[in-house]
């Protein structure tokens, strides 16, 4: 038979009468009859769900609260405190001057027994480590291997020194490395601060190369922060590694070290702070934090409270629904509720 025997000679040329005469084969999929579960929110399910959430959440909340309660935390804000009386009006000048004595010794009282290890953090506020310009200002390639030393694409303005030689590590993040130091003593006896393993093992092994050594660092016109010992490879510069894991929020803590011994209640700790880091030019705060940890991290009552709130809200909703269902019962699937049964006018 002529292939175009009954086709349209002129109309839509593409559309030959290609009738699909194949009968659709039956399958549960094509007929949309796959076995399926049809969940329905019956009163029983609703009440149970809410009650269940309440029953789960309240204990978790209590556990969180108790965990948080066991955490002992000493927070000491020293940015203003550590500036001599006479320099209070010009903090920036104090911190920028190389002549001033930046050592500052203070005594902290342990409020409650702190079991070791006690974590030492510094906490900065109003420091936008998450600023778009800042987070990008680094070169992961340069940090990882010596071969990529010249990869400084995003590092400007801290990519090279004024004579054009490459800065390692480049970029604003490294440049602004925190450089306050703390030492501790109890009853004139110095407490060892363990500065090992404060950075992530993964960073030390894979992100920061063991053959990459600091070079031309902090030699530019503007000193941003700490200097690095050029004889130690980056993979062992743990303070830098910690600092370069940029914080999520403008107020952040970073691990400084650990005190492995226990601190007893009411013990007097003498802290000697080298107050070098300039947060004064942008009104940033500096805190020293000593804290124990629990499974929930640091001291944090929020989650416990939130869980208790949500849990009790759900219990309340569960009760509320019981009452509502009792007050205004409706038979599920009663055809008389269908709109055309309620209102015959709608049906023509």
């Amino acid at each position: 038979m002529n292939p175009r025997g009954d086709s349209t000679s002129g109309s839509d040329g593409a559309a030959e009468p290609r009738r699909k005469s194949k009968k659709p084969r039956y399958s549960r999929f094509t007929q949309q009859e796959l076995p399926a579960c049809k969940p329905l929110l019956t009163p029983a399910i609703v009440v149970t769900t809410f009650a269940f959430i309440g029953i789960i959440f309240i204990p978790i909340g209590l556990l969180s609260l108790s965990a948080s309660g066991q955490v002992v935390e000493i927070v000491y804000q020293y940015d203003t405190d550590c500036i001599p009386e006479q320099m209070q009006n010009d903090k920036v000048a104090f911190i920028q001057s190389s002549m001033t004595n930046k050592t500052c010794t203070r005594t902290l009282t342990v409020p409650k027994n702190m079991e070791g290890p006690v974590h030492i953090y510094y906490e900065l506020d109003n420091f936008y480590q998450n600023h778009r310009r800042y987070v990008k200002s680094r070169s992961d390639k340069q940090l990882r291997s010596k071969a990529s030393e010249t990869e400084t694409t995003n590092c400007a303005p801290e990519a090279t020194t004024s004579d054009g030689s490459v800065i390692v590590p480049c970029g604003l993040i490294a440049w602004s490395l925190f450089n306050d130091t703390y030492s501790f003593a109890v009853n004139s006896k110095i407490i060892e601060v363990n500065k090992k393993n404060i950075a992530w093992q993964s960073d030390k092994e894979h992100k920061f190369g063991s053959d990459v050594y600091p070079k031309n660092f902090q030699m530019g016109g503007l000193i941003g922060g700490a200097k690095l010992n050029a004889s130690i490879p980056l993979s062992e510069q743990e303070d830098l590694i910690v600092w370069m894991r940029t914080a999520a929020l403008p107020r952040f803590r970073k691990l400084y070290g650990r005190i492995e011994t226990d601190l007893a209640t009411n013990e007097q700790i003498t802290v000697t702070i080298q107050n070098n880091y300039n947060t004064y030019s942008f009104e940033g705060k500096k805190n020293l934090v000593l804290s124990t940890t629990s499974w929930i991290g640091g001291k944090n009552d929020f989650l416990g409270t939130a869980y208790l709130t949500v849990g009790s809200l759900c219990l309340f909703l569960s009760m509320g629904f019981i009452i509502l269902y009792l007050l205004k019962p409706r038979t599920l699937g009663d055809p008389s509720y269908l709109s055309w049964n309620r209102n015959p006018d709608g049906h023509y």
Binding site: N130, N300, D345
Partner: protein, 1189 residues
């Protein structure tokens, strides 16, 4: 052989039905002079054909044809042509057999056709241009462009281009493939060959595309015509040729065309002359022209003298014609405008919400920009050496500023960056998802075995892929009648002969043998054994004679052409009766079944095989059907030298001309039978005869000849003669023909009515037929008040409409009002039905009465439009479409439905027996009208609810992410950092959350098929826009904001005093948001099958894997962050807390609405579940339950 298929066209013009209560009527004979045909004036370029011009029947005979052997083929163009000339500047001059001169000075288009859209060169620009008509794509293109600016480079360039490039690429490949197929078919078409008269005076093959206007072309039987030609000569001495126009207008019966006598006798090579004709236009039923034949007077040409490209020559061994319109200028090409692209209503509504989202986006960006500006201004002095800003640059020889352009410009950059970052607020993935979901839905619709037509072996077709969801919101269905509601198969069902009703019988093939060959009618008809016995019961009895005359009348009184069709058995041939009236075909088949087989027809005589012997009857004269007489008659010279007049016609016209005072019992009995037939919805005809005495015949013959020879008022003379001779008839009997309704039509209409869908029937049929079909398909019921508008002038139309308006309002006032709602019984008002005819519509649609019609039509429950022309059908659809928001659907099967199918929001073609035109123009095609029920009520409902939910969900999903990003920006000195890494952000809508919504969009079912069919009213949810509206959108957005707050602030507060790093917190936010949106989706899923499970849980697992992989790449800042996070209890407590507290409001609202203000769908869902539980059936295997009775 396709042309000989026994496929009958509806008796649009010729129907013989009954209005209940007044038994009826009608003779099917007049072939093609109905308003339906002639008034088909598309926007003809000349614009001179218009409906008004043709509203009055014109029955003048045109000259130039042999005496009354064939029905005349007149047209208004011809009529007009005789009255006025086409002026030279608006005419096309064609010199026959002189293509050079014809194509001077202007060359007409050659005969090549081109349906392909692109060429290799134009493909890229044109396809892109078309694709970028989607505003969303322009938006994303702008963003991609912005992202390339170094200062703004938020994402890596490759990552930012990819999504858009992917979308464009996929679409381009699809378009290219389609166009390539069009190229192929164009090429095949253009390189077909035809016999063209060459210089040497002989016909040589020439490729179609090379045929020029003016060339003389010869076409043999069963060949397709290569261009529009004026017939010059045919193999038949009388100049008749038969063509099948199935590809042109979808009608499968043969149409006769005529060569003018003046050219018929000339040999092809000697042909010359000048044809003056209209410029090319779209009107396939009109042609106006004239030919100057040397040595003869000017002869006018009409539509009956041209044969059009795309038609096939049938039953004529050859024709010779001259090409007048070629290639793109042929009528078929001018008529093949592509389907206008449609956009679904949901998508149109969606665009409104997209604009709202754009406003929200701009707001967010402005907030960020203003805050960034303020921050920069406040810190202006510190920026130089701010550790995290450091605009001073000492790396050069001199101190410089680094990447800082002043507060103003930096603020502007902030704005642009924020637009780039928050761009997913307008979800690009949604556009791809929608395409994919529609594809999936289309697949399921095609595969639905409930929409597979066993009869014609056709399955459902989705031709348009972007309006699936419209199927769930239809409020008006405009249906064609013949072939759509009815099967378009006339069946002779019963006869009343001599006042006795014969309606029993079985089917048996009745064959005859002539000259060693066995002939058998193609269709079998049930014969009543009793009637057979009566007929065979000896020649002597009066009854037998009457019965024989009855069937002789059926076999002779028609214009049917018998065509012999070969079968595989060489000794057996089938007789296929071809004619323009299916009623006549049915009658002739019936006569054949009773032993009166019409075997042959020539211009002067017919051969009938009468009960075993062939007899030759001379056709001495034929009086055509006309609408005044409502009957037709033939004068037959019988073998026994008697001359008989056979008449058939509508009962009311026939009883007037039947001899009074004779056969009173028979007449009374026949009338009773007719009443019974018409109440069954049968089309009835009354048959009568009279033997003409010699003198009478002589008298008639001379009058007939002189009338035919008359130059002026021939039609009138012939009509008068017919009325004169058709009198004192002896009644033979009556016939009942069934125009069979398609299976399940009344049930389908009832279902749609319950579903709140108004069904309008638009038909070319006569009013009586339309009404009787209306009753038989339960569209009309006896308790309806009918408003009938049949007017001939504007004023009377106006008056009728105004009367109708006041009547409908009066009825509304009379009917019981609110108290009825309280009692809850009975229907609230009298149902109204509007019946309006084409002539009235001409006045209404062209004058400013549309508003009145709209008012009346919308209060009526049923509207029946009769005698409407194709363009009027479109006009009626437009009447509703332009005045309301309601969705319209048009369904039809013929070429005359094309305009309406294209006009309606959703066009459906019945791919039944008629041509392909309706299917080609349609958005969906299927085999049967009743499939509308599963299509609309089941698939439409599902598609609508799925798509509606998917759109809202996509908005929600992206908004949650954008708001999280926004909250974070507030804590980054407004510097537009994202804690969530670029890759996670980009993958979010592509991998992390895309698949479940697509799967749910394709597979989720709120209700089972069984429930949807049981309660058609559930369809109204779609009509009410229940699943997608502004309120839902706002609620969804409020929910998004709450959820984003929960996701962002719970970790924010929990980690405020910790040493968490940005990437770790980012991972927590990412995992939380992915988990949350997927659980949110899971909560809204109605039916969980294994695919849903796999996709939702799979997606969550895939996300975790992706996040882990991303955090295992040392290059990225987030290296190992997720492992460190997952190692802490805080992470898990946060995650659980986020999920629960974010979802509690959504869950609570869902419970409250479902329980206390349940929608119909919700109650039906409960019903489904509870019934299932109580009967403990295995849930899902609910087979097709739609009644097949």
């Amino acid at each position: 052989m396709a042309g000989n298929m026994p496929v009958f066209h509806p008796p649009n013009d010729l129907a013989a039905p009954a209005e209940p209560g007044s038994p009826v009527m009608v003779a099917p004979l007049l072939p093609k002079s109905s308003p339906r045909r002639r008034s088909l004036s598309w926007r003809s370029r000349e614009g001179r054909t218009s409906w008004e011009a043709f509203s009055v029947e014109n029955l003048e005979l045109s000259g130039s044809r042999p005496v009354a052997s064939y029905p005349s083929k007149r047209s208004d163009s011809e009529k007009l042509g005789s009255q006025r000339e086409i002026s030279d500047d608006e005419a096309r001059l064609v010199y026959i057999n002189d293509p050079e001169r014809t194509n001077q000075p202007l060359r007409f288009a050659d005969n090549s056709i081109r349906t392909a859209k692109y060429s290799v060169l134009t493909f890229l620009p044109r396809n892109l241009f078309e694709q970028f008509h989607r505003v969303a794509y322009v938006y994303f293109l702008v963003l991609v462009g912005l992202n390339q600016i170094p200062q703004l480079g938020v994402f890596t360039p490759a990552a930012s281009v990819l999504p858009l490039a992917f979308v464009l690429g996929v679409t381009a490949v699809k378009d290219a493939y389609e166009d390539w197929r069009r190229h192929l078919s164009d090429r095949t078409e253009n390189s077909r060959t035809a016999q063209v008269l060459a210089a040497g005076g002989e016909f040589r093959p020439k490729r179609w595309k090379d045929i020029l206007v003016g060339e003389v072309v010869k076409v043999a039987a069963d060949e397709t015509l290569p261009c529009d030609m004026v017939l010059l000569a045919t193999s038949d001495p009388t100049g008749v040729a038969y063509v099948q126009t199935i590809n042109l207008d979808g009608e499968s019966n043969l149409k006769s065309r005529y060569a003018k006598q003046e050219t018929q006798s000339t040999s092809p090579e000697a042909m010359s002359g000048l044809i003056r004709c209209e410029k090319p236009n779209r009107n396939i039923y009109g042609f106006l022209g004239g030919v100057d034949v040397p040595g003869s007077k000017r002869v006018s040409l009409g539509p009956a003298n041209i044969i059009l490209r795309g038609c096939e020559l049938k039953n004529t061994s050859w024709v010779v014609g001259v090409a007048v319109y070629t290639g793109q200028e042929t009528k078929v090409m001018l008529n093949s405008s592509g389907t206008p692209s449609k956009r679904s209503r949901l998508e149109a509504h969606m665009n409104r919400e997209v604009i709202l989202l754009a406003v929200a986006l701009i707001t967010l960006c402005s907030i960020v920009t203003i805050l960034a500006g303020v921050w920069l201004t406040n810190h202006r002095d510190e920026l130089d050496d701010l550790p995290y800003y450091r605009k001073e640059d000492f790396s050069g020889a001199e101190a410089d500023t680094y990447d800082y352009h002043g507060v103003g410009l930096e603020t502007l950059f902030s704005f642009l960056k924020s637009v780039i970052i928050f761009q997913v607020m307008i979800p690009i993935a949604l556009y791809i998802s929608m395409e994919l979901v529609r594809l999936g839905q289309a697949f399921l619709m095609i595969q639905d075995k409930n929409m597979f037509d066993e009869g014609s072996k056709t399955s459902f077709q989705c031709r348009a892929l972007n309006i699936n969801e419209d199927l769930g919101q239809i409020k008006y269905v405009f249906s064609d009648k013949t072939g759509t509601l009815t099967e378009n198969k006339m069946e002779f069902l019963c006869a009343s002969v001599g006042g006795v009703d014969y309606s029993g019988g079985e089917e048996e093939a009745h064959s005859i043998s002539v000259a060693g060959e066995t002939l058998r009618p193609k269709m079998t008809v049930k014969t009543d054994p009793e009637l057979m016995n009566v007929m065979m019961g000896g020649k002597g009895t009066e009854k037998a004679k009457q019965a024989r005359d009855f069937f002789l009348a059926l076999a002779t009184c028609n214009t049917i052409v018998p065509i012999l069709v070969d079968t595989t058995d060489p000794s057996l041939k089938l007789i296929d009766y071809q004619g323009e009236s299916p009623d006549e075909q049915a009658l002739v088949y019936a006569a054949a079944a009773y032993g009166f087989t019409l075997v042959e027809r020539t211009s002067g005589h017919i051969v009938i095989h009468v009960l075993g012997e062939s007899q030759r009857y001379d056709v001495l004269g034929l009086h055509e059907f006309d609408s005044d007489r409502k009957r037709m008659s033939v004068v037959i010279g019988c073998p026994d030298k008697t001359v008989k007049l056979f008449v058939k016609g509508a009962d009311n016209s026939m009883f007037g001309v039947i001899q009074k005072g004779r056969d009173l019992d028979v007449i009374r009995a026949t009338q009773t039978n007719l009443l019974a037939y018409s109440s069954l919805g049968l089309r009835t005809l009354v048959v009568g005869m009279r033997e003409l005495s010699k003198s009478e015949f002589k008298e008639w013959q001379s009058a007939f000849e002189s009338a035919n020879a008359a130059l002026i008022g021939r039609g009138k003379l012939l009509r008068a003669l017919a009325s004169d001779v058709e009198r004192n008839l002896h009644i033979l009997g009556a016939s009942g023909i069934e125009d069979k309704l398609q299976l399940g039509v009344p049930e389908a209409i009832e279902s749609m009515r319950q579903a709140g869908i108004k069904v309008w029937v638009l038909t070319g049929d006569k009013q009586e037929t339309a009404v009787s079909i209306g009753f038989s398909c339960k569209l009309l019921t006896n308790d309806m008040t009918r408003i009938v508008i049949n007017s001939n002038s504007r004023e009377s139309c106006k008056k009728s409409l105004q009367d109708a308006v006041s009547m409908s309002s009066k009825l509304a006032a009379v009917s019981p009002g609110p108290e009825n709602i309280l009692t809850g019984t009975g229907s609230s008002r009298v149902p109204l039905a509007l019946i309006i005819d084409g002539t009235s519509l001409v006045h209404i649609l062209e004058k400013e009465l549309e508003d009145e019609l709209f008012k009346v039509a919308t209060v009526c429950d049923v509207v029946l439009c009769c005698r409407v022309a194709p363009l009027q059908k479109a006009g009626i659809v437009a009447l509703i479409k332009n005045r309301t928001d309601d969705m319209t659907l048009a369904i039809g099967d013929g070429a005359n439905d094309v305009s309406m199918i294209q006009m309606a929001d959703v066009g459906i073609g019945i791919s039944g027996q008629e041509g392909r035109q309706a299917v080609m123009a349609s958005d969906f095609a299927m085999g049967q009208f009743r499939f509308l029920v599963p299509l609309l009520l089941v698939h439409g409902h599902w598609n609508y609810q799925r798509m509606a939910y998917m759109i809202l969900y996509n908005f929600y999903r992206n908004a949650v992410l954008v708001f999280i990003l926004f909250w974070y920006v507030l804590y980054t000195a407004y510097s537009l950092t994202t804690a969530i890494s670029d890759w996670n952000t980009q993958l979010y809508s592509i991998i992390y959350t895309a698949l479940p919504t697509i799967v749910v969009g394709i597979l989720d079912k709120d209700l089972s098929r069984k429930t949807l069919l049981k309660y058609p009213q559930l369809y109204k949810a779609g009509q009410r826009d229940e699943r997608y509206n502004l309120r839902l959108f706002i609620l969804t957005m409020m929910d998004s904001i709450w959820q984003s707050v929960a996701i962002f602030y719970i970790p924010y507060i929990a980690y405020r005093h910790s040493d968490v790093d940005g990437s770790g917190l980012g991972d927590l936010w990412m995992l939380a948001v992915v988990l949350l949106v997927n659980l949110h989706l899971a909560m809204d899923v109605f039916r969980w099958n294994w695919i849903t499970h796999a996709s939702i849980w799979g997606c969550i697992i895939a996300t975790v894997i992706c996040v882990i992989i991303l955090d295992s790449i040392w290059m990225l800042p987030g290296y190992w962050a997720v492992f460190n996070m997952m190692g802490t209890g805080l992470f898990w407590v946060c995650l659980l807390g986020i999920i629960v507290s974010a979802l509690v409001p959504h869950f609570t609202t869902k419970v409250l609405t479902e329980y206390f203000t349940p929608s119909d769908v919700q109650i039906a869902r409960e019903l489904e579940k509870i019934q299932n539980l109580s009967t403990a059936t295995t849930s899902e295997i609910l087979m097709n339950t739609f009644s097949q009775s």
